[in-house]
Structure formats: C-alpha cells, structure tokens
C-alpha cells in the first residue's frame, strides 16, 4: 500500500496551513494592536484617575476653616483650590485656640514680586502654613509662592508680579498647573499623560475638563463640581 502525499494533497495542505498561519498572524496582529491600544488607553485613564483622585480630595476639603469667598481661583491652565495640603511636615489646618474662623493672612505690604504677610501661621499652632511652590489666593487674585521662599518668613516671594493690595486676605491654596509634560500639583508631576486642563466656573458650578493623550489614544473627562 502506497503511503504518502500526493502533490495535490501537499498543495492543499500547504494552502490550508498558509491560511491558518495567516489567520494566526492576523490574530496576533489584532491582539498586539488591541493590547497596545488598551495599554495606552489604560495609561491615559491612569493619569486621569490620578489627577481626578487628587482633585477630588482637594476639592472635598476646599477652604476648610477658610473664607468661603476665597475657595477657588482660576487662571489659564491653572487651578487654585484653597486649603493646606497634608504633607509629612504639615498635618493640615487645626482649630485655633481663640481666633474664630475663617482663618486667613493679610497683606501688610508689597515689595515688587514679594508680599509681606501679617502671619504665616493662620491657625496659630506654631506651624507655618505656607511653603515654597504652594499656591495662594488673595482678594486680588491667585499667585504661586516662589521656589526660593524660606518657610516661616513673612516676606513671601511669588513667581509673578504682585498686584495684591495692602489689606487683602490671603489663604494657602493647592496649585494645579498644566505644563507640557503633564499636570502638576504644587510643582509635583501627578499625571504625565494629561495634556488638556480646562476649568470653567459658572456661578457655583466648577467644571474641570481633563484630557489625556498617549500615542494616538486620547481620553477626555469632564468633572462638574458644585462648590457650596
């Protein structure tokens, strides 16, 4: 009995094998493409998630124990949320012993791009509540404390020209800023993929639109918050 493969059989089998290989290759390509897209998408979503989690946390504590009319300040691609961020060296604002809230500092004088505060310890707990790269909100607008600021000093340099008036109230604020390499919070990169940061305040409704992009993936999210 002849056992073997005829040419026809061989060709048919090769054809079938080729089709199978092509199918597998296509599937592999599809999977790889999907994986890449999902990975990029996931990367964008992670950035958005990181940004949103921090924004949400900061907004939830917005202006706690501070003046209600100095809660939020907006600039182009910048957002200032009144509050003292909890760090390893600062446990957040505490209830003062005598002074009734709301707590704030006052501008005593201005010197070029520096402001002189009446106090840098607004809750009188002997811990300075302002430090370098932190935002501030004043009655005249928001500013960012210069990186050169020495903590505890009432002479506070700011990164832009000071237009605050003597007697203005000041509160520390968390500063969000969109730079070319991502979204920064108090000068620390928190979301690399974020490349769009738009804030709109209409009456008491703050809408934050975040956009994250990586390779060809682009994700957007809109976060409306009612500021009480």
């Amino acid at each position: 009995m002849n056992k073997g493969l005829s040419l026809v059989e061989f060709l048919v089998s090769m054809t079938i094998a080729s089709v199978l290989i092509l199918a597998l290759f296509s599937m592999n390509l599809l999977c790889a493409g999907t994986y890449t897209e999902v990975r990029d998408s996931w990367y964008c979503m992670q950035s958005l998630r990181n940004a949103l989690v921090l924004l949400d946390r900061d907004l939830a504590q917005c202006a706690c124990l501070m003046p209600p009319d100095l809660k939020i300040a907006l600039l182009d691609r910048e957002l200032f949320i009144a509050g003292v961020p909890v760090t390893s060296s600062h446990g957040g604002l505490s209830v003062p012993q005598n002074n009734a809230p709301p707590l704030y500092s006052l501008v005593r004088s201005t010197h070029g791009s520096s402001l002189v505060f009446d106090t840098v310890d607004i809750d009188a707990d002997s811990v300075a509540d302002y430090w370098a790269d932190l935002g501030i909100i004043t009655d005249s607008g928001p500013y960012v404390i210069s990186h050169t600021y020495s903590r505890g000093n009432t002479l506070v340099p700011i990164t832009t020209e000071a237009t605050a008036a003597v007697g203005d109230r000041i509160v520390p604020a968390i500063h969000y800023e969109l730079r070319t390499d991502g979204l920064y919070r108090n000068a620390q990169l928190i979301a690399e993929a974020v490349n769009g940061f738009d804030t709109v305040m209409e009456e008491n409704l703050l809408t934050i639109r975040l956009q994250a992009g990586y390779n060809h993936v682009c994700k957007q999210i809109s976060y409306p918050i009612f500021i009480r």
């Binding site: 599937m27 999907t34 946390r57 907004l59 209830v95």
Partner: protein
C-alpha cells in the same frame, strides 16, 4: 501506470493530531478570553474609580451613625460685636471625615443701666420743712427702734446706718454709737412737753425723713428749715438731700412754723409738676411765729385767739397757712409728736399725719430696663409703686446684708431692711439674675425657683460678673465693689466708671484709669488721659481697653494700661459709648456721642454721621450691621415716656443707613438678643415689646466651614 508517490508518514488519520488541533484551538480561545477578561477587568476597575469619584464626591457622607461632636467657644466672629458675641465652632467627626460649622453665640447682652428714670406724667414735688429749733430736742412720744444711733460730740443724737459691732454702746472719735434699746434706757430725751417716749423729736424726725427720702423714687424734693429757709433746692439726688439734712442742727431759738410754711408756698416750679406737697416736720411748738398777712392769720376761720403773732411760744397760725395751701392745691402733711394739733394741721392742709411714700407719689407700674432673659424665659423687671417688685419672685425672705459704711469690706446683717429703689441695672448669668436698684440695693435671684436669695444694701450701679466675681458700681457715694459669691465684699474702689476683664477691673475716675486685680482689688497700675473719661470698653478679643473722653478722643490701652494709640474722632460731644468689632482682623471702634455715630480704626476715622432721630441710647453690631437705638425726647418735661424711640440699622463699615424703624412712644430699652428665636427685641417703659427679625443674618444659624478628610477613601 503507476504514479510516483513519496512515502512520508501521514498522521491525518491519526487521532493524536486531532487532539493537538483541539488543544491548540482551546488554548487560543482561552488566551483570547483571558485577554478580553483582563481588558474588561481593568476597565471595570478604572470605571469604578471614576464612578466612585463622580458619585460620592462632595455629597454628604453616608452618616448612618451619630458623629462625635466637639463644640469650641472662640472669639467673636468677623463683623460681630466683641463684647456681646462669641463664636460657637461645631466640629463633627464621622470616621475619616470631620466637618466644621459655626454660628454666633451670645456672650453678654448689650444692656444699659438706667441712671435716673423719670416719668413726665408723675413728677411730684415735695418740700420738707424741718423745724430746727431747740424745741426739737425734747422727747416726741416715740422710742428708739432697734437701729444704731450716734451721740455726736456736740451732744446731738442722729440716726446712723446699722453697725453690728455695737452691742450696747461704742465710743469712737466721732461720738458714741449706741443701740436703740440701750438708748431707750440711757439716752432718753427730756419729756418737756409731756409727750412721753424716749427719742427726741429731732432724731426721730431726721430718721423718718431719711427713710422717706429713700423711699420716694420719682419725687423732686427740697429741704428747708424754719430758721434758714431752703437749704437744698428741688433735686432727686439723695446724697445732696442727706447732706442738706446733716447740715441742719436743732439750735435755733425761734420756730416760725407758719411763717416758714407760708414762704415756701411760692417755691414750687410752675411747669413739669404733677403734685405739690409739703411735710412740716416739727415738735409742733411755734416760737415767735404768726407774723402773717391779716387775711392769712385766721384763714380757717376757727377764731382761735392764738391765730396771731405771738412772741415766744404759742402761735396757732400753722393750721391757717395749711388751709390756705390746700386751697391753692398744695397738700400739707405733718410729722412729729402724735398730737391733735399736728393731725389737725395735716387735715386742714389736705394731707396726712406722718405721710408714707404712697401719700406723696403714686406711680404706675413701669420698667426702665430691657427684659431679663433667664432660662429661656424673659422677665420684665417691673417697678410697682416706684419700687422693684416684679411679681414673679416666689421667695421673698432673703438674707439682707448691709455693705458697711464703717468698714468698706464688711457685710453686716442688719435686723430689718426693706427693699427700696427702682431696678436700674441687671446681669443675667446661667440661672441667676443680679439686679441693682436706684437706691443701691444689689439683689441675687435664683431664676430656677424665683427665690430672692440675698440683698445687699449699699451696692448699686452697673453690674457685671466675670467668673465668680461680681463687679458693681458706682453706688451713690461713687464706690465700685468687687464681690465674691458668698456674698462677700472683696474690694471697694472709688470711681465713676468701670470695665472688667477676666483678671482685671479697670476703674476710671476723672481722667485717671486704675487697674486692679479682679479678685483681690490689688492695685496694679494706672494711666491718665488729657480729658475726663466718659466711657470705657474692654475688648475681650484684642485685650485692649478703650477709653472715650469728654473731649471726643478715644484712647487705646493694652492690659497693662500702656498707651497703644489715640483715635481723634473730631466729635464735638462726649464719647458716651463704644462698641468694637473686627473686619479682616482690623479692630473697628464704633463710637457714639449723644448725637453722632462714628466708626474708626487705629488708622483713623472711617465715617461719621449724625443720629437723625434723637440721642443715642444703645447699639450692637451684628453681621456688619450697626443696630443703633435712639430716643427723641420732648424738650419740655423730662421723662422716659416722652418723645419717640427709633431703631436705625447702618452699615458698620460705611455708615450708610440701611433701615430705620419707629419703636415706641417714649424711650426704648434693649436690645435683648435672642439668638435661639432669631430676633432682637426692645421694650418700652409701659412694657410694650417690639421684635426685630434677624434670622437672615449670616451666623444666626450654623454655617458650614468645610470639611477635612483624615482618611483617604477612594
């Protein structure tokens, strides 16, 4: 023909290959499934985070259990009166979240003291004609009561305030003090006229007159004597009246009773007078009397042969002058020995013998303070018949004390005292009400039971309580007292005004401010201003003391009375009151002259405006609004029932008038702040109440101050 075939193994029919193909297929399916599931899982996880943020952010947490609550009492809120308000900060903690909210809390009512309450409709005028002849030294048919008397070096016996260290008699440099029962034995006056008794007419009548003067609240009183005429014109100043009495001595050799009385009939004023009374305090024996016009000597037509001038004793013209006085609507009362003659004179004069307070003045029920808020109830401090008698006191057997006139720090227990005077100042604290009267009686009332706990005679004026220390004053002798709760007098200082912090009392007299320790009265320091001090205000938030002067300046001192600043208000009147508040951490002083309101900071004057409707009575600052009550009184007869009172609400920062309302006919007392009911109220002298709604002010209800997260939830 046979085709060439390759002989290669074939497994197409081999079941193993089928198995391999099947396994590969399953593997591919599994890989695809796992891949898909991973994508789904990550998407679900990511979506869930966003969902959590979107759904839960800024919404109140699921507060299924009651929070841990802490209430902090802090200084006054921004734009609220420092003396009257504090901040209640409510901290509530639910697990990882704590929220804060605040509201204004009442610290102390911005009460005022009514220094000299008057009713234009009740202005009786009384002249006390005291016989100061030697006949007054005889016994008058009465005995000494259980009080204390002083035999002066001159031999004159006068009634003096009770002293508990005199058991029977006590010698001192001023004379010999003795008790009444001792006097009945050893100081019996000569019974020259067979009236009986032991006490001489002079002592008895001076004692009687002093008691009567103290009782008469609304009455203008003049003092005259038979030998010197009017020695004290009409006044309500009890110290001046007592001083005039003490200047008289029974040494005159004549006693022209009828002539003196006749001369006094023209001494009453024509206007602002509702009744005319004269009390003739005498032994009833005229000497060298009766030199009167012929038509008057027997005016009563009794044909008494002694109705003429008689040299020496005996003239009987007093009843004729009394009858004439009655005919021109002047009532003549008599006081002295219980004789038919004096009763007859009183009868003919339309008066009574030994008149009491009710014989002279009959005053309707009235109040001259705002209602007293204690235990969620508001009580009128009603004066009945011109004496504090609110009607809601259940226990009326208090312990009576007398703040010693001999030892300023000693409280003695006199045998008997009656409550006298109109309620003119109050201080409500916890469950007690402290109240002082115009006759220097300080009362402690337990408002849970309505019991009058104790009464101290000799302490009056404005009242405050800091901790357990009560500060009251000045009384009518110009003394300010610090008292412990016992009660006990801790210290006594002379002064015109006072303010107190938790540790110090600041006492102003003329242009000097003295700081003393609140509990011990120990002198700490003093300072002076250029002109006399007309108002004091301690700011509990800044710890500064503000002194307004008659020159229109405001001095700001620290707690050690070191001068911090001087504010020039350019006011043309005295600074009569000041209220303080903060705006953006800057101390603002709202100052008032009788006709102007001003607001200033240490940087200078912010605004000044005239009070359009009358003169200033009281003010309080709430949520940036100055609530100023004014009183436009009638120019004619004085009285808190005259004119009209108004409430003006002005922007405390600009002085702009925001609202104005008419309160009452007459003066308004208040405001009484009731934050629970969200209103303030004023009341009038006849107990009408005006309520003003303040529920719209920021701080009346709890306002959120945000929340903190102590644990990260997403």
């Amino acid at each position: 023909m046979c085709a060439n075939r390759y002989h290669t193994p074939s497994s197409s029919d081999n079941s193993g290959w089928v198995l391999v193909y099947a396994l590969v297929f399953v593997l591919v399916i599994q890989a695809a499934s796992l891949f898909a599931l991973t994508i789904i899982k990550y998407n679900v996880k990511s979506g869930n985070v966003f969902h959590t943020i979107f759904k839960n952010s800024h919404a109140p947490e699921l507060k299924t259990r009651p929070p841990e609550t802490i209430i902090h009492a802090l200084d006054a809120p921004d734009c609220w009166d420092h003396a009257a308000f504090s901040t209640e900060l409510l901290e509530r903690t639910w697990g990882g979240e704590r929220s804060f909210s605040w509201r204004a809390c009442l610290k102390e009512q911005p009460g005022i003291s009514s220094a000299d309450p008057l009713l234009s409709s009740h202005k009786p005028h009384l002249i006390i004609l005291l016989d100061d002849s030697v006949t007054m030294k005889c016994s008058c048919g009465k005995t000494y009561d259980e009080g204390t008397y002083l035999e002066c070096q001159s031999g004159e016996i006068v009634p003096v305030p009770y002293r508990d260290d005199v058991q029977t008699s006590l010698y001192s440099q001023t004379g010999t003090f003795f008790r009444g029962d001792y006097g009945n034995t050893y100081y019996a006056a000569a019974d020259t006229n067979a009236f009986g008794g032991t006490i001489c007419c002079w002592t008895y009548l001076v004692s009687y007159i002093k008691t009567l003067i103290k009782d008469l609240q609304m009455c203008e009183i003049a003092i005259a004597s038979t030998s010197r005429g009017v020695v004290q014109p009409f006044t309500r100043d009890i110290a001046a009246l007592y001083s005039a009495l003490e200047s008289l001595h029974p040494e005159a050799t004549t006693s022209p009773l009828a002539e003196s009385l006749a001369l006094l009939l023209d001494d009453f004023p024509d206007a602002c007078i509702t009744s005319r009374d004269i009390i003739v305090a005498t032994s009833g024996i005229s000497i060298d009397d009766g030199n009167l016009p012929a038509w008057l000597v027997d005016f009563d037509d009794d044909n008494n042969p002694q109705d003429c001038y008689i040299e020496g004793t005996g003239s009987h013209c007093l009843d004729d002058v009394a009858a004439y006085a009655s005919s021109i609507h002047i009532r003549i009362h008599t006081a002295g020995p219980d004789t038919a003659y004096l009763s007859d004179v009183a009868n003919k004069g339309g008066g009574v013998y030994m008149p009491s307070k009710l014989s002279i003045e009959q005053v309707p029920d009235f109040v001259c303070l705002m209602r007293a808020p204690v235990l969620n109830t508001k009580h009128f401090l009603v004066n009945k018949g011109g004496t504090f008698d609110p009607g809601w006191l259940t226990g009326t057997s208090p312990t009576f004390y007398q703040a010693g006139p001999y030892n300023p720090l000693h409280l003695c227990l006199p045998p008997a005292l009656n409550l006298q005077g109109i309620a003119t100042s109050q201080f409500a604290s916890d469950q007690a009400l402290l109240c002082s009267t115009s006759r220097d009686y300080l009362l402690d009332i337990d408002m849970t039971t309505g019991d009058l706990m104790w009464v101290i005679e000799g302490i009056g004026g404005k009242i405050t309580k800091r901790g357990e220390t009560i500060v009251a004053g000045p009384n009518r002798y110009g003394y300010i007292h610090g008292l412990g709760g016992g009660p006990e007098i801790l210290w006594s200082q002379r002064g015109d005004l006072f303010e107190s912090s938790l540790g110090n009392a600041y006492i102003a007299q003329d242009n000097i401010i003295t700081s003393v320790d609140l509990e011990s009265g120990l002198y700490l320091t003093e300072c002076a201003t250029a002109s006399d001090i007309s108002s004091l205000r301690y700011d509990p938030c800044s710890g500064l003391l503000l002194a307004g002067t008659t020159g229109g300046m405001i001095y700001i001192f620290n707690t050690d009375l070191a001068l911090e600043d001087v504010i020039l208000t350019n006011a043309d009147g005295i600074i009569c009151d000041m209220r303080t508040f903060n705006r953006h951490k800057v101390l603002h002083v709202l100052a008032f002259t009788p006709n102007r309101a001003m607001c200033a900071t240490q940087a200078g004057l912010l605004w000044s405006r005239s009070l359009d409707n009358g003169t200033y009575t009281n003010a309080v600052v709430m949520d940036n609004g100055a609530y100023i009550s004014t009183w436009s009184r009638d120019e004619g007869c004085e009285g808190m029932n005259t004119g009209r009172s108004y409430l003006m609400v002005a922007d405390a920062l600009t002085g702009e008038k925001l609202a104005e309302k008419t309160l009452f006919a007459g003066m308004a007392f208040g405001p009484l702040i009731d934050l629970a009911a969200k209103n303030i109220e004023y009341n009038s002298w006849d107990m009408q109440v005006h309520t003003e709604d303040i529920s719209g002010l920021d701080g009346i209800s709890y306002s959120s101050l945000g929340s903190q997260r102590t644990q990260i939830t997403p």
